[in-house]
């Protein structure tokens, strides 16, 4: 498309508009995290009266941030690893085999994506409490209960994206390996998985992000000892006297891993989403 000068000017104006609405909250977060306490307890100032990194240190003792961090890391890493493994197996079956129940399976997996979380939360809560009561296996309030819950959240979309990814890879590669005597599962792990690494990493990041930001289930299924970052920080933010500079510092610390991972791999995420969407 040939672009006129007017369009060039309009584009600059448009881009500035979008940049400003995006930057305003980001700027507030970053600048507040390096302000002394009196700055955030009075009217908002665009420029800090002095720059300090103390909030980044103080927040670790204001709230048990290390414990929240540990809980979040254990839960999210476990859920991601298990979920990706399961998604690889399931996507391989759908992409490479025609079997009875294939379409119902796809339908169920996809439709669970649309159900409101609140619908599962209540029964799941009651199921967990009753499993504890009957078998003595503690799922409510434990990390395991949360891991099991989270690993299923990203599963539908992970399978969907990986099916799209696997479909785009020619079967001849695995067939060659299978002629050489490798089993189908061997071909999956020796041929298909290495080639699909970008897609698999994108799916893993997506699963991790989903778990890292989850609030609803964490609010009902954790206790003080297993509280994740999401609930820990939210509860602190709802108190009456909040040290906002420290809270903004904590927000930056907990955001960096997911934002960096997402930006590094967003290209693959889009490929995966659109590939799955086109061939669904």
């Amino acid at each position: 498309m040939r672009e006129s000068k007017i369009y060039g000017v309009l584009r600059v104006i448009g881009l500035l508009f979008f940049a400003l609405i995006t930057l305003f909250p980001l700027y507030t977060i970053v600048i507040s995290s390096i302000k002394p306490l009196q700055d955030v307890q009075s009217t908002f100032r665009w420029i800090p009266s002095r720059v300090t990194f103390e909030p980044y240190i103080q927040i670790w003792s204001t709230v048990p941030l290390a414990r929240y961090f540990l809980n979040s890391v254990i839960v999210c890493v476990s859920a991601t690893v298990i979920s990706v493994m399961i998604a690889i197996l399931g996507a391989y079956a759908i992409s490479r085999f025609r079997f009875r129940g294939r379409n119902p399976f796809r339908l169920v997996v996809l439709s669970t994506q649309m159900f409101p979380g609140i619908l599962f939360l209540l029964p799941l809560f009651i199921i967990f409490v009753n499993i504890d009561q009957t078998f003595g296996v503690q799922l409510y309030g434990s990390r395991i209960g949360l891991i099991i819950t989270y690993l299923t959240f990203a599963l539908p979309l992970s399978i969907w994206m990986l099916v799209g990814y696997f479909n785009s890879i020619p079967r001849e590669l695995e067939e060659a390996a299978m002629v050489d005597g490798t089993t189908a599962v061997g071909a999956l792990f020796r041929v298909l998985v290495p080639i699909s690494m970008p897609g698999i990493v994108a799916v893993a990041i997506f699963s991790f992000m989903t778990a890292w930001g989850e609030v609803l289930f964490a609010s009902a299924l954790t206790t003080e000892a297993t509280r994740t970052l999401a609930i820990g920080l939210r509860n602190y933010a709802s108190q009456s006297n909040v040290y906002w500079n420290q809270l903004m510092a904590a927000s930056i610390v907990v955001s960096i891993p997911v934002v960096a991972g997402f930006l590094a791999l967003q290209k693959y995420l889009v490929q995966g989403l659109t590939a799955g969407g086109v061939k669904g």
């Binding site: 584009r11 009217t43 079956a93 169920v108 299978m178 809270l247 930006l263 989403l273």
Partner: protein
């Protein structure tokens, strides 16, 4: 299909008396050659059953019980109450039914604003970033950051910005831009609705941007060249080339943002906790409060079931309409 054939060939070879390869596992041989895909999907099926399917069925069962806190550890003892929970939920004259209806209407308005707003903003930004220019990558990355941030970080940041006395929003509006005389309360009364809309929109439009930009990049530039040689205006090109080719992705964007927004729990819960102002009382939070705070699980489950029915109907109708539309276009 070719795999199926070659697998059959391989199986035929096995049956043809040639010694089976050593690596083949015992379990698979016992279950027969067609067991493999089932074995592969079993883990996914188990977890889907445990966390999604069984709780969903169980949820529908609970909605017919008078399940209160008395029976939480022993749900089988809860008395059967027929359609009573549904009657209470749908009785517009009663206090519970009327507040549920109010919550439904608020949620609908919220959803329409977010879905339409996200699509419009996402498409505009995607068009602006679509062609090559210097600094393009920076804008693209910047626009995606809100989507990448954990939800609770976004909402907590907005909570901080929307403080009546010291928030940066009021500082900007009152002190810097002089748009309003006295700083409004954003987190109370009717304004709370606009607070959740702003917060959710800021976070949701980059998702539309991400997918629409990917789709724009896939449109071959030749199409525009041919069109402009034929004398089509930019607007005409946009209407006849861009919009129709974006249709499949737009359909996905609208459906996904609709489901997210209609089920949104995070925005009002993080901003307001368990007692949101009426104007920000979205359905998911409304059900949560009825179940976990008022401890009436049967009623909460009935409301969830109604919500599920509504979403099912909307999604099925939407997909139907879309299919009919795309056949007409084809």
């Amino acid at each position: 299909m070719s795999t199926t054939r070659s697998r059959k060939d391989a199986e035929a070879r096995d049956e043809g008396g040639s010694p089976p390869p050593r690596r083949r596992r015992g379990l698979r041989r016992r279950l027969g050659p067609h067991a493999l895909p089932y074995l592969l999907v079993i883990p996914a099926v188990i977890f889907e059953l445990l966390v999604h399917v069984i709780p969903m069925i169980f949820g529908v069962v609970i909605s017919f019980l008078a399940l209160t806190s008395l029976y939480i550890r022993n749900w089988a003892q809860a008395p059967f109450s027929g359609f009573n929970n549904f009657k209470i939920g749908l009785d517009i004259g009663g206090p519970i039914g009327s507040s549920l209806l109010h919550s439904f209407l608020i949620t609908s308005a919220y959803t329409v604003l977010i879905v339409v707003g996200s699509w419009l903003l996402g498409l505009t930004a995607a068009i602006l970033v679509n062609s090559e220019f210097r600094g393009r990558g920076w804008f693209r990355t910047l626009f995606l950051i809100p989507y990448a941030l954990p939800i609770y970080v976004t909402v907590i940041a907005w909570q901080f910005m929307l403080q009546q006395q010291d928030g940066s929003v009021n500082t900007l509006l009152v002190k810097n831009l002089h748009l309003v005389d006295s700083p409004p309360f954003w987190l109370l009364g009717g304004n709370a609705f606009w607070s959740i809309v702003m917060t959710a929109l800021w976070r949701t439009w980059p998702f539309a941007f991400l997918l629409l930009l990917a789709a724009l990049q896939n449109i071959p530039p030749d199409l525009y060249e041919v069109a402009s040689v034929d004398g089509a205006s930019i607007w005409r090109q946009f209407r006849s080339i861009t919009l129709p080719l974006l249709r499949p992705v737009s359909a996905v964007v609208v459906l996904v943002t609709f489901l997210w927004t209609f089920n949104d729990f995070n925005t009002p819960y993080i901003l307001f906790g368990q007692s949101p102002p009426a104007s920000a009382d979205l359905l998911s939070l409304h059900i949560y409060v009825n179940s976990f705070v008022n401890l009436n699980f049967g009623l909460g489950a009935a409301m969830s079931t109604l919500l599920l029915l509504f979403l099912l109907i909307v999604s099925v109708v939407y997909i139907r309409l879309l299919r009919v539309g795309s056949e007409e276009n084809a």
